[in-house]
């Protein structure tokens, strides 16, 4: 009896390997597992066995039955699968195009940086682009005849108004409105009346940052900038400060970033210096705070002006700044 069961099992296992269609599988089921099938017949004989053999053979018979049922269902699943894959089209054909638009790279980078600053508690503010001399220059400690005005070729409009030459125009506006402590960034476009080439445009984007609180120091400025840049470039970056003059900060700095290409060893990108000039920054000038109705004896702060356009060009290796505002879809659809 035991032998018969084993033989039956082996025979079934052998047979099932050759089954290629559902008809044959159906026959297999009938032959082995069906009510009149061989296994059922064998099982019926169990009751005729000696009492002491019954449990052992019964157990074995059941095991065989389960095993056969199992290989049957597996074979059935395999066959079904094969059936499903018999289709009448070529799945390797290109996917049907679904229309999708694009987001301008300046927007993408702007949002990325906004989010980084938001995590450090900086709110995002916006303000006028058509600006007065007062907020673009005077409140920034740059009175008329100040040579620093030369470095910014301003578009002048009627009535002494102008197109802002820097996002710093919002420093005093925001201090006036929100007071201290203040933590904010102001991204936006700025304008310089100069001729254009692959690396200069009369319209470009900056992201100004301003933090005013009690006891803000230069070390804080370095640290916030380092944290932000490490998040932007997704790796630890090194920065350095060197003197730079901007009338609305004192002390004023140029912040350089250790060249990301050569790691500071010197390469053509950083002109062998190991450093790339990144952004002007500094400690907010007491005059600016006073214009914002803040007591400079009690509060101090830092400000910085990140060149968004430059960052976008660095990040995507864009070699012509004018593409950004060209509206050319061949360019824009890449983003």
């Amino acid at each position: 009896m035991e032998k018969k069961l084993q033989q039956l099992k082996e025979q079934a296992l052998k047979e099932i390997k050759n089954i290629k269609d559902s008809g044959a599988l159906e026959d297999f089921k009938k032959q082995y597992l069906g009510r009149k099938g061989e296994l059922t017949q064998l099982l019926k004989e169990v009751k005729n066995l000696a009492v002491e053999e019954k449990p052992k053979i019964g157990k074995l018979a059941n095991e065989v039955k389960e095993e056969l049922a199992d290989i049957f269902s597996k074979a059935e699943a395999t066959l079904k699968g094969v059936k499903n894959s018999t289709h009448d089209f070529d799945p390797s054909m290109p996917g049907q195009s679904r229309p999708i638009g694009s987001i301008h790279p300046l927007t993408t980078i702007k949002y990325e940086i906004e989010d980084i600053f938001a995590q450090m508690g900086f709110a995002v503010y916006d303000g006028p682009q058509l600006e007065s001399d007062f907020y673009n220059f005077t409140t920034l400690n740059t009175p008329a005849d100040h040579p620093a005005r030369d470095t910014q070729d301003t578009f002048w409009l009627e009535g002494g108004l102008l197109l802002r030459s820097q996002t710093s125009n919002l420093q005093v506006r925001m201090l006036e409105r929100h007071g201290v402590p203040f933590r904010g960034i102001f991204p936006g476009r700025v304008f310089r009346n100069e001729s254009t080439d692959v690396s200069h445009d009369h319209t470009f984007y900056q992201l100004e940052g301003l933090m005013v609180d009690k006891d803000i120091n230069i070390g804080n400025l370095i640290s916030v900038m380092k944290s932000m840049l490490s998040a932007v470039f997704k790796r630890e970056v090194d920065v350095r400060l060197r003197p730079g003059f901007f009338p609305f900060v004192e002390p004023g700095f140029e912040m350089d970033i250790k060249c990301l290409i050569c790691g500071g060893k010197g390469c053509p990108v950083c002109k062998q210096s190991g450093w790339l000039e990144l952004m002007p920054c500094g400690m907010v000038h007491p005059e600016v705070l006073k214009f914002g109705n803040i007591d400079p004896n009690e509060y101090s702060g830092f400000a910085f002006g990140l060149g968004l356009t430059r960052l976008v060009m660095m990040k995507y290796r864009i070699d012509d700044i004018r593409l950004l505002e060209s509206g050319d879809l061949r360019f824009l659809k890449q983003f």
Binding site: F134, I218, N220, R242, P251, P286, S300
Partner: protein, 809 residues
């Protein structure tokens, strides 16, 4: 501005083993931005002094000669075309392997041993321009080679060594010293180097003047407002000549073209001290009198460059008793310039108000080395050292000369001594690191501040050369200490601040939402365009250019008017893109400028005047091959979805726009939020455009105010809804919109009506159309019965019959 290391060695000894690159870096880190460090000897590598021993004619070329040249250890044969070649002449020879600039132009070329028309030639006898020495050794023609015979040089010696051209020049970015009037001369830069390297700086010394009161020079300053100091004196018996090599070398090193000894001296002093000077030919000065006063606007003056200049308002002039002789602080006049015949001169060393010089120089478009310095606010004290130094040098160069007048000094120096009290704590708090008291004191002393320390405060006297605008508040002292101490010593540390209230910026949030939605769900491409409006499309759209904000000083006519609408630029970009794409959608979110409306931003802090309105707009253009109906309805669907998302109530109102074939205003109550429509395709230049163009524009700034933040959940229906279709025939003139609202009025049980077919043609009478729509009925408190629906359908039909003469189809 060039810094010459040889020049500053007059006053200090730099530490040994300090290479020039390090000096450049240290200056960058502590003081100014260094653009380049130039090692003179490096550029003259392989150029030596040679003597021409023999000259023979070139057998095959009339203009060439074959020279045997003694180079000390060897002799070389060199073919040369120099017109001034003579036997025994000392010349500069660029040996094989050295680099020269061919005919003084283009890139450097490495010399090879070669044959010139069949004759061997090893190296080159050079003209000064070929090795970059044209300023030091000016040549009359490019065929003229450098003649060194007068200089008694040793044959075979490297030229750099022989001429002692061993200077290192540091090129400083002028922008980085805009705020530092003291750094526009070598002595000021020497002071910085001394502070950085902690070395002693010699005091600036000038000899006392010996004057004869032979000529009564009178100086009258009528405009004391703008002329802070005027020093003048007369020197007689000078002899105008070329300056000696040493002087020319120094000037050349800092980029100044030597002219003659007198002019060279004034330039030398300007480069040494930063104080511009001027020398007049005394014979041309009427009445031995100098008057400083303002010009009348529009008067004409000829400057020494020969240009006739129309003087702007308030231009400050130097005059004699009859006429103008110089544009104060900017440029001398042609009528009194130093010529080869000049024997007597009047020297000027003055100080003018920075703003006045700057304004005049800007108005004339005339920027000079002199005006660049004056507009930085020079220290009036400098003027005296400068004139004394100039006299000393002129008397040295012209042994016959003597000072023939008193030194006249009209001094109206308005700058007061500046004393600052700086708490030690301020320096350390701003720096974030504690600097030892002694270190602070030392740094300030090295920078020539007078410092006293008492009860944790520094009492500081600012030196006059830093007191004209540069240093005025304690924070300036923080910078002086910090930069010399070294920004590298600062510890980067995130600020410790209080957690604050979150700030929710709805407009900003909504901007992001709509941008992502348009791009990713609606296949729109975001474009950025300039604020300057496309004038051709302004015209196409029928906008009035005079209603645009105008740029007064634009560098190009295209940049002259600011957008009042985003559409002109978007349409222009759409037109450009038609070259590459047949169908596309673009949008922009930006501010536009309305000069006729007052905005919400104040002009100043007085709160009375406001900037023109500059709201943000959201606008888009769709270019499509769809027919006009499809395109219009598709765009309408876009706007419906947008309004639905923000839950803004809106209605459409027909709005006639001259540039649209069909257009509607989007309104909330009486407020127009925007408009959209189809563009009149006749506006496109090209007639064979096979697309339709739709546009839309929304005032985003005002739309944001209507965005609802009160979205509430609606309970899911408890009872089933029943759907029925209905088709009716009405006159073509019946609008779906009216019909739809009429149906809704009949019963609240009618939950939706959705048009799915509009048909005209066979089986429908002319002038009529068939409308087929799905109706959905549902009640909130019971399951509707067939009888209810039948009753409602009857009512709907009856009503439509009454209102629109509709028939069931």
């Amino acid at each position: 501005m060039y810094l010459s290391l040889n020049w500053v060695k007059n006053w200090l000894k730099l530490p040994k083993d300090l290479d020039s690159k390090t000096i450049g870096l240290d200056l960058t880190m502590a003081t100014v931005e260094v653009e380049e460090v130039i090692d003179q000897a490096q550029s003259l590598l392989g150029v030596v002094v040679g003597r021409v021993e023999e000259i023979t004619k070139h057998p095959d070329a009339d203009r060439l000669q074959v020279c045997q040249v003694n180079l000390g250890d060897i002799k070389e044969q060199i073919v040369c075309g120099g017109t001034n070649l003579t036997k025994g002449m000392l010349v500069a020879v660029a040996k094989v392997g050295s680099k020269v600039k061919w005919h003084g132009e283009g890139e450097l070329v490495e010399l090879q041993k070669t044959k010139i028309r069949g004759v061997e030639s090893s190296g080159m006898i050079v003209a000064s321009s070929e090795i970059g020495l044209e300023k030091l050794f000016p040549a009359d023609s490019e065929k003229e080679i450098m003649d060194l015979s007068d200089l008694k040089l040793k044959v075979g010696q490297p030229l750099a060594q022989a001429l002692r051209l061993d200077d290192v020049i540091i090129d400083i970015d002028n922008k980085s010293i805009n705020h530092r009037p003291d750094l526009w001369g070598q002595y000021g830069l020497a002071r910085e180097l001394a502070a950085i390297y902690k070395v002693k700086l010699d005091q600036y010394k000038v000899s006392d003047l010996k004057t004869k009161n032979e000529l009564k020079l009178k100086v009258e300053v009528l405009d004391k407002e703008n002329c802070f100091r005027y020093l003048g004196l007369a020197i007689k018996n000078i002899k105008v000549a070329q300056s000696p090599l040493e002087l020319r070398k120094k000037l050349e090193a800092v980029g100044i073209r030597p002219i003659n000894n007198i002019v060279d001296v004034t330039n030398y002093v300007m480069y040494e001290l930063g104080q511009p000077m001027h020398a007049f030919d005394a014979r041309q000065i009427d009445g031995a009198k100098i008057v400083v006063k303002k010009a009348k606007k529009g008067e004409v003056f000829v400057t020494l460059d020969g240009e006739k200049r129309k003087l702007p308002e308030d231009a400050l002039m130097i005059c004699d008793s009859k006429k103008y002789v110089a544009l104060a602080g900017i440029m001398g006049g042609q009528n009194s310039e130093i010529s080869d015949e000049t024997v007597d001169i009047i020297l000027e060393s003055a100080n003018f108000r920075a703003g006045n010089i700057r304004r005049t120089s800007m108005a004339l478009g005339l920027r000079t080395e002199s005006s660049a310095r004056f507009e930085k606010s020079l220290d009036p004290v400098l003027a005296e050292s400068a004139i004394k130094k100039a006299v000393e040098m002129i008397l040295n160069l012209c042994p016959e000369a003597y000072v023939a007048s008193d030194l006249v000094d009209i001094n109206n120096n308005p700058f007061k001594k500046i004393y600052l009290e700086v708490p030690e704590e301020l320096i350390n708090r701003r720096f974030g690191v504690v600097i030892p008291t002694k270190e602070i004191k030392d740094i300030l002393k090295r920078l020539q501040f007078e410092v006293a320390y008492k009860s944790k405060k520094f009492s500081i006297t600012v030196p006059s050369f830093r007191a004209t605008k540069d240093i005025s508040i304690p924070e300036d002292i923080v910078e002086e200490v910090a930069r010399v101490y070294g920004y590298d010593n600062i510890e980067a540390k995130l600020p410790t601040v209080n957690v604050r209230e979150p700030i929710m910026n709805v407009a900003h949030r909504s901007e992001r939402d709509i941008i992502y939605w348009l791009a990713w769900a609606q296949a729109y491409n975001q474009v950025y365009t300039y604020p300057f409006t496309d004038q051709r499309w302004v015209k196409n759209l029928g906008f009035d250019l005079s209603q645009h904000v105008k740029v007064k000083n634009s560098i190009s006519p295209e940049l002259s008017y600011l957008n009042v609408s985003l559409l002109p630029n978007l349409l222009s970009k759409a037109e450009d893109n038609l070259r590459w794409y047949e169908e596309f959608r673009i949008f922009e979110l930006e501010r536009v400028f309305d000069k006729n409306q007052k905005g919400s931003y104040q002009v100043d802090n007085l709160g009375k005047k406001f900037l023109p309105k500059q709201d943000k707009y959201l606008a888009g253009v769709e270019v499509s091959k769809k027919n006009s109906e499809e395109l219009f309805l598709s765009l309408k669907g876009l706007l419906e979805a947008m309004m639905e998302h923000w839950q803004i109530d809106w209605e459409l109102e027909k709005k006639d726009l001259p540039y649209a074939s069909v257009s509607f205003a989007i309104k909330n109550q009486d407020i127009e939020l925007g408009h959209f429509g189809l563009l009149d395709m006749n506006l496109f230049d090209s007639r064979d455009i096979k697309v339709n163009v739709a546009f839309w524009q929304i005032n985003f700034a005002s739309l944001v105010k209507y965005i609802s933040h009160n979205r509430r959940y609606q309970a899911l229906a408890k009872f089933p809804s029943i759907k029925r279709d209905m088709a009716i025939i009405v006159a073509n003139s019946v609008s779906w919109g009216e019909l739809e609202s009429e149906v809704y009025k009949i019963s609240p049980l009618i939950r939706s009506i959705e048009l799915f077919d509009v048909y005209q043609g066979a089986n429908i009478a002319h002038g009529k159309k068939s409308l087929a729509y799905h109706l959905e009925f549902r009640s909130d408190d019971r399951t509707l019965m067939t009888e209810d629906i039948d009753q409602l359908l009857k009512e709907i039909l009856a009503n439509l019959k009454k209102k629109f003469a509709a028939d069931l189809r």
